[in-house]
Every structure is written in structure tokens, then in C-alpha cells.
């Protein structure tokens, strides 16, 4: 009988010890989970910092490269103004090569963007639609900074007349 009583006490003690162990374990796990949560937040913040830094560095690098890229852009697309006669001659060749008849041509020249000169040409050509379209395509395909600002087509009794406003940039 006494042995059974001792066994009962041992069983109760084991249960109490197990309960204490479980409670302490839960407490420790909870504290650790919360610190893990904080660590995850910190890791996310650190990653975000690195992303911001990388973006700022890239932006700065892009601006550092701006002068060189602008110079490259200028040298490849904006010819010096002494190339203007060749440009004008080239335009004439394109007009006659397309089979179009030039009607009139006017110029306006003004300085822009610090060291560039804008030449605005207004001219009209008459001829078939296919030839006008070919001419537009050739102008648009030129590597230099020449583009058509506007094109106006007008049908007349004698045929099609296309009026162009063209802009070309030259370095001063």
C-alpha cells in the first residue's frame, strides 16, 4: 500500500514537472518567435536600404555619364554648321531623286539650346503621292537631327501638293 502511495506521488510530481517544462518551453519559444519576427523586419529594412542605395548610386552614375552621352549625341546627330551647304544639296538631291517638283523654300534660323542652331525650312513639293511618301521616309531615316515638324497634303486640279515644315539642328 505504501509503495502505491509513493508511486502516486511520483506520478503527480512528474505531471507537475512536465507542466512546468511545457510552460517554460512555450515562454521561451514565444520570446524567440517575437525576436525572430523583429529579425525578419530588420532584414527587410536592411534589404530596402541596400535597394535605395543601389538606386541612388545608379541615378548618380547616370548623371555622371550625362556630359559624355550628350557630347556623343551632339557629335553623332548634330553636325557643325559648316555642313549646311552639304545638307541643303542633299535635300535637293532627295527632292529630285523622288521625282518631286519643288515649288518654294523659305528659311528661318535661330540659336537654341546654348550651342546649337535651329534651321526651319518651309517648302512645298508637287508630284505623285508615292513619291511624297518616299521622300518623307528618306527624311525620317536620316541619322542627323532632321525631322519633319508638319506635313500638309492638298489635292489640286494639277495634282498633289505637299507642304513641309522641316527642322534641322546644327552646332554653332
Amino acid at each position: 500500500m505504501k509503495k502505491l502511495r509513493v508511486l502516486a506521488w511520483i506520478t503527480t510530481g512528474l505531471l507537475v514537472a512536465a507542466f512546468v517544462f511545457w510552460a517554460v518551453g512555450r515562454g521561451i519559444a514565444s520570446a524567440r518567435y517575437s525576436s525572430g519576427d523583429r529579425a525578419k523586419t530588420e532584414l527587410a529594412e536592411l534589404r530596402q536600404h541596400q535597394d535605395s542605395l543601389a538606386k541612388s548610386r545608379d541615378l548618380l552614375e547616370a548623371w555622371r555619364n550625362a556630359p559624355a552621352q550628350l557630347e556623343e549625341f551632339r557629335s553623332t546627330t548634330i553636325p557643325d554648321f559648316d555642313r549646311f551647304p552639304a545638307f541643303r544639296d542633299n535635300l535637293q538631291k532627295r527632292m529630285s531623286g523622288s521625282g518631286l517638283k519643288p515649288l518654294k523654300l523659305t528659311y528661318r534660323m535661330r540659336p537654341v539650346g546654348g550651342d546649337a542652331k535651329l534651321v526651319t525650312l518651309e517648302f512645298s513639293l508637287s508630284g505623285p503621292y508615292a513619291a511624297v511618301k518616299r521622300f518623307i521616309h528618306e527624311v525620317e531615316s536620316q541619322p542627323e537631327m532632321v525631322y519633319l515638324r508638319s506635313v500638309r497634303f492638298r489635292r489640286t486640279d494639277s495634282g498633289l501638293i505637299a507642304s513641309f515644315v522641316m527642322e534641322a539642328y546644327f552646332a554653332r
Binding site: A17, F21, R57, W63, E167
Partner: protein
């Protein structure tokens, strides 16, 4: 001879089944609690080993984060104030050069019915997404057909003037591109 059966015990008799049943139950409960305690202690703390390593290196890299960020921003502001005007000018030129009128003409060739004649057409960089035109349509049915075909290009009609011969002179504009 019949014996008298008397219970002379000082305490009640132990119910063994109840005793052992309760003992087994308590031991099982203790076992479950211990198991759960181990499970709680052995659980993950939220970060993998790679993440912990990454965090250590990120912490090192993060020293002086605010200073570096401010330094980059100040340098960027300085360069931007000096070059932004020229960059904007270059971008505007590139945008103009990239705009093609050929695309608009191709679209118009596809969209206009063959019976519709073009009187006037304007393509302008200042309105790069619109084609403005005046067309001549030989009859009313052709006019409706033309409107049906052109309506998918955000057709805007400014005027529609019939003449004595039944033809219609229509001023309209279409949207090209997005």
C-alpha cells in the same frame, strides 16, 4: 459450518482499476506536456542560416547608410542642376526624331475606303496622335460606310457639307497610335 464474513479493515479497499487507470492517464498527460515543451523549444526562430549570414553582411554594409544616401543625393542634385536643361533638350529632339509620319500614312491607306477621296491631310508633331483631313465622299451610303470603318480610330467629325451633285465634303480627324 458457516463462517461469518466480516470486513475488519481500517481503510476502504483500494480500487486497483481506478488507481492504475488514473496513473496511466497522468503519466500520459505528463508525456504529452513534455513532448509539447520539446516541440516549442526546438521550433524555428524565423530566420534561416543564409538569412542570418545575409543579415550580418547587410549590417556591415548598412553602416553610414544615411550619410551615403545624402552624399549621393547631393551629388545628383548638383549634376542635375547643371545638365538637366541640356538632357531635356536632347530628349525632346530624340522624341521628335522618333515620331514617324509614315506610320500615320500607312494607317490611313488601310482605313480609308477606296471610294473616299482625300482633299486635304495634315500631320503635325504638335498633335502627333491625330490625323486631320478633309475628304470627299461620292454618296450618302459611302459616307455611312466610311464612318463605320473609321469609327474605331476615335473619329472626330468637324463638318459635313453636301453639294448639289450629292457628294459630301467632310472634315474629320482620326487618332493614330496609343
Amino acid at each position: 459450518m458457516k463462517y461469518l464474513d466480516l470486513n475488519v479493515a481500517s481503510k476502504p479497499r483500494l480500487n486497483y482499476l481506478r488507481y492504475w487507470g488514473l496513473t496511466v492517464l497522468l503519466l500520459a498527460a505528463a508525456g504529452i506536456l513534455t513532448w509539447n515543451g520539446f516541440v516549442a523549444l526546438g521550433g524555428e526562430d524565423g530566420l534561416t542560416l543564409e538569412e542570418k549570414t545575409e543579415m550580418l553582411s547587410l549590417r556591415r554594409a548598412d553602416r553610414g547608410y544615411a550619410d551615403s544616401l545624402e552624399k549621393f543625393a547631393a551629388e545628383t542634385r548638383r549634376l542635375k542642376s547643371r545638365w538637366e536643361g541640356r538632357v531635356r533638350f536632347a530628349n525632346a529632339l530624340i522624341s521628335r526624331k522618333a515620331n514617324s509620319f509614315i506610320g500615320g500614312l500607312n494607317l490611313l491607306e488601310k482605313a480609308l475606303p477606296e471610294t473616299v477621296y482625300l482633299n486635304r491631310l495634315t500631320l503635325d508633331q504638335d498633335r502627333p496622335n491625330r490625323l486631320e483631313m478633309e475628304v470627299l465622299v461620292p454618296a450618302y451610303t459611302e459616307l455611312i460606310n466610311a464612318y463605320r470603318r473609321l469609327s474605331s480610330y476615335q473619329l472626330e467629325i468637324t463638318s459635313e457639307i453636301p453639294d448639289r451633285t450629292g457628294r459630301y465634303r467632310v472634315s474629320l480627324s482620326l487618332r493614330i497610335g496609343k
